[in-house]
């Protein structure tokens, strides 16, 4: 019994010293102290570019410390990070995704504005988070095939795939398969077919898999730079299955209150980045071996940090 007590004591001592350690900030490492603005970013190129854009903007216009919490696995993880006060700003959130996954409602497929308004007000009242106006681009899931496959099966829209679906090998985003509202289950209900073979993959890898002929069709993001460079064909969502995904920054009301200078800084980005610009930025990272951090800096310098655009 006495031995057991010693063990417990030892473990408690280790844990306690660990917690003590975690409480203090470390010089040279941003993000370890408590007055730092923490930007959550997921593991996609787009998310990381925007996270660095936000970081650079904050550093340009204020003296706040910033850090990026990188490589989060999904929108839900980054949402929870904000909710549990482990992060302050989410670099990109999509209204359509948040409506179905976080708020658990079905999207009004035709009406983008209604979705935006609903998500904006619900995030504010339920979760005390501020949804900024859109950056100016929308990202949506899109089924893509190579031009060759499109010709072979005469594919123009998602409905066209129905007759060949059982023969197709399709690469899909892991999270999409399990999603409610706009995931695979509901897709089958609306379009009335399923694919022969589905491979859940890391989203960054699907484009290469399609290009190299390992997949017949993929589900990717419409903003990806590789669509242009591989000349992929996007199949028209003729039944409007995928809800509108307007991209915005989201910040907790807490951090906006603590640092009132943040709101005008983030608002400078409203409507500044259109789809073409985002594709272009993504292309630089995905194809030209440039890091998101460098791309973000170049982009902001090119636009002079959107000086003079505050209202």
């Amino acid at each position: 019994m006495r031995k057991f007590k010693k063990w417990i004591l030892g473990i408690i001592a280790t844990v306690a010293s660990g917690v003590l350690l975690a409480g203090c900030g470390f010089p040279g490492l941003s993000g370890s102290s408590s007055d730092t603005v923490r930007i959550a970013s997921q593991n996609t190129t787009e998310q990381q570019i925007m996270a660095y854009v936000i970081q650079d903007m904050i550093q340009h216009y204020s003296k706040l410390n910033t850090t990026i919490i990188n490589n989060l696995g999904s929108g839900t993880v980054s949402f929870n990070a904000l909710k549990n006060n482990q992060a302050d700003i989410s670099s990109i959130r999509f209204t359509g995704t948040d409506l179905t996954t976080i708020l658990g409602e079905t999207a009004d497929r035709g009406n983008v504005k209604a979705t935006d308004d609903k998500v904006r007000s619900q995030f504010n009242s339920k979760y005390h988070m501020t949804y900024f106006p859109s950056y100016g681009f929308a990202d949506t899931y899109a089924f893509m095939v190579t031009q060759k496959t499109a010709k072979k099966y005469h594919l123009n829209s998602i409905s066209d795939m129905k007759k060949v679906a059982s023969k197709l090998t399709v690469g899909l985003d892991q999270t999409w398969l399990e999603r409610k509202g706009d995931g695979y289950d509901d897709f089958q209900k609306l379009y009335g077919y399923k694919f022969g073979n589905t491979y859940p993959m890391q989203i960054g890898l699907v484009y290469d898999a399609l290009e190299s002929g390992k997949m017949d069709a993929i589900l990717g993001y419409s903003t990806d730079g590789r669509i242009g460079s591989y000349d992929l064909k996007i199949l028209k969502d003729d039944r409007n299955f995928f809800p509108p995904y307007n991209a915005s920054a989201v910040a907790t009301n807490k951090v906006l209150k603590e640092h009132p200078q943040l709101k005008p800084i983030l608002s400078r980005l409203n409507g500044k980045i259109d789809l073409k610009t985002m594709q272009n930025l993504n292309y630089k990272v995905d194809n030209n071996l440039v890091e998101p951090e460098v791309v973000a800096k170049q982009f902001l310098e090119q636009h002079n940090y959107f000086e003079g655009s505050d209202k």
């Binding site: 975690a22 996609t44 071996l289």
Partner: protein
């Protein structure tokens, strides 16, 4: 980029992103150093203490051993539950893994000081504090340094996994390489500096370890 071979891509990558790689390198190194430093501050006194109270030694080393057997990714996740995302979680993980080599080596180093030397110290009328400071510590310093060296190399490896809790460091570059088109060059661009960091710190500490050994002078 397809027209370049892997080495050319690697060169091009460093040319484009040199400053970024350097900042991640520093960050990676600092995370590892802080973890090991705290482990040293806590581990060395524990090692000295259990060397003098050998009844406790078995238990303390057993606890450190148990910590060591937890897979690092699991440990990181467990600590994340408590401390959340970010750099502190990684520093605490590094700290826990660095404890065993440091405690064990301090203990071994102290125990290996020959009892006859200790007796002659006592015979000269030295206090316990003096024996520790002037006899035991100098004689075991090289073994303690070897422990720190092990701990640091281990720490650099663990910090690379820290990217999964959003801590940054060179692991970020490696993970990005696995997501990118033809990411081979990016993976190398992250992995090579990590390996280099481990090798360099190992060599430097090996040199210090040698210098610290009074019997080699």
């Amino acid at each position: 980029m397809a027209h370049m071979n892997l080495l050319q891509q690697l060169g091009y990558y460093y040319q484009q992103n040199g400053a970024y790689v350097l900042s991640q390198f520093t960050r990676h190194f600092l995370i590892s150093i802080y973890g090991v430093l705290f482990a040293a501050i806590i581990g060395i006194p524990i090692g000295i203490f259990i060397a003098h109270h050998s009844k406790l030694s078995a238990e303390v080393i057993a606890i450190a051993n148990v910590i060591q057997t937890v897979p690092s990714l699991a440990m990181l996740s467990i600590i994340m539950i408590g401390l959340g995302l970010g750099v502190n979680t990684v520093i605490v993980t590094v700290f826990l893994y660095a404890l065993l080599p440091i405690i064990k080596n301090t203990y071994t180093g102290m125990r290996n000081v020959s009892p006859s030397i200790l007796d002659s110290g006592k015979g000269m009328g030295m206090t316990r504090w003096q024996i520790l400071r002037m006899v035991e510590l100098p004689l075991s310093l090289s073994v303690i340094m070897a422990g720190l060296r092990n701990a640091l190399v281990l720490a650099i490896g663990i910090t690379a996994i820290g990217t999964f809790v959003g801590a940054g460091g060179l692991g970020d570059i490696i993970i990005r390489g696995t997501n990118a088109t033809n990411g081979g060059a990016i993976i190398l661009a992250g992995a090579l500096p990590t390996a280099l960091m481990a090798i360099i710190s190992d060599t430097v500490l090996a040199w210090i370890e040698k210098r610290a050994d009074p019997t080699q002078k």
